[in-house]
Amino acid sequence: MTAVRVRELSVRVGSTLLLDGVSLDIEAGTWCTIVGPNGAGKTTLVESVAGLRRPHAGSISIGGQPLASLSERQRARAVSLVPQHPEVPAGMSVLDYVSLGRTAHHGLFRSASASDRAVVDSVLKRLALDPFAERDVLTLSGGERQRMVLGRALAQSTMVMVLDEPITGLDLRHQMELLELLRTEVNECGLTVVATLHDLTLAGQFADRLVLLDRGRVVLDASAAEVVRAPELGECYGMKLRVVDIDGADVVVPVRS
């Protein structure tokens, strides 16, 4: 089943074309990572899939439903977002922050139901956030905070989760922890992930499929192993890249010219 279908998507800001005829099909329960140099249109693409940008042309469907036909509430029950720079409101507890993810389920004029609270409790436990539930969000470390943002997105209980550079600013251990958590959600819960990542090695290790984007166009759309070895990858970045196999994992290394 196709979870995300993008057809001839173009996004324009003023006279600048940020995406130019992008088409993608992402199967349900798989992880697709968008890679490419700065300015390639990665963030624009994931924001469009999350419904935050209005396309100039083309269409996006989530689970067969055209995104443009969904209300905000319906959209938030279909796609969740982990932004690159999430806003963390001072004074809010971790529990309240993660509970924001249930907004689209209980609405604005009803309190959270028992099932909403059960979902939030389950997410807090899965992400090992339950010991911090009552703490102010500002007291968390970078890794804990990013887990909390992931928790809010998981609490939305969506078919598709969109993540824009979710490991920015995290140390290596926390990067791996977060991506492992996400991989578990894909494998065990059937979550469909559409993410952007700058780290090509991690992108190759965790994603089922990589889409290489450059100047708003899809250059390559294939398995991770194929994309990291393709000559187009280095050409898009304007540099020489080597792929080293370490214990069966592809490690992408930039080479000084």
Partner: protein
Amino acid sequence: MAIVALCTLVALCASVVGGLVIGPTPMGVGRVVGDLFSHVGLGHSTLSPLQSTIVWQLRAPRLVLGLLAGAMLAVAGGTYQGVFRNPLADPYLLGVAAGAGLGATFAIVNVGGGVATPTWTPLLAFVGAMVAVLVTWLLGGHGLRSNASTLILAGVAVSSLLTSVQTYLQQSSSNSIARVYIWLLGSLATANWHTVDMVLPYVVGCVAVCVAAGRALDVMSVGENESRSLGLPVQRVRLIVVAASSLGTAAVVSAVGLIGFVGIIVPHIVRLLVGTSYRRILPISVAFGAAFLVFSDTIARTVLAPSELPIGVVTALVGAPVFVVILNLRRRVLQ
């Protein structure tokens, strides 16, 4: 939270009793309460006819108008701070004050001061306030497509323009300057039951909408894009909240003039006491704002009796130290 709510309720009751009892004509609490009940057909008043008139025709409507104005200004300030995510936002942000000021000045200067003023001043102040907000809304991004910062900038531009016109009108009619100035400072002195009847439906409806928006404002604390990704119809919420806050504020301002400080400082005091959730800030602000304005008015009309201090002076003189004390107390608790 429960303690703060209880303390606010006690303060509200104390301000109500003080507003009815304190004044140049001393009267006991029991006799005043008895007189109020007698007006709704329960029991008999033990006050003299003059005392009864003072309570029922002067103090009671002034008290009720003060409660309504304080509640509305405080909750409107809180919702504006939430919807614009700006701690400096107050109910006058989108031009309500400037529009009402221009409308009232026009009425005082042109419609004839004396007899016509009590009718025309509130009416034109209300119209001016609503027109100003409407123009701000349209200039700030063509209605539903507006964003917060564009709206604030449009509000600044509209306010500046209307204030300059109002200043010109005021200066061009030197014999009306004093009356215009008194109106601009705000006062509850002209309150009567007719004014209360006019303001009441607006305040009750608009306060209810603002308080109900608390959950939406909590969601908006993560920013516009994230709120939308969580399923919040941001522009629709902003339209409803701004419309309710502006309408209620315009109704209040048209009746009592421009009372400053309540709308900006009360939500901040409440925030320091109950935390950052608008589901708590807004209902507590309603009671706190009402108590605060009635308390300030009681001081304003008694401290220099028989003359009165402008109520805006008292709200600032009382509110600023209260805010500083609470800020320091909270800082000590957090340390």
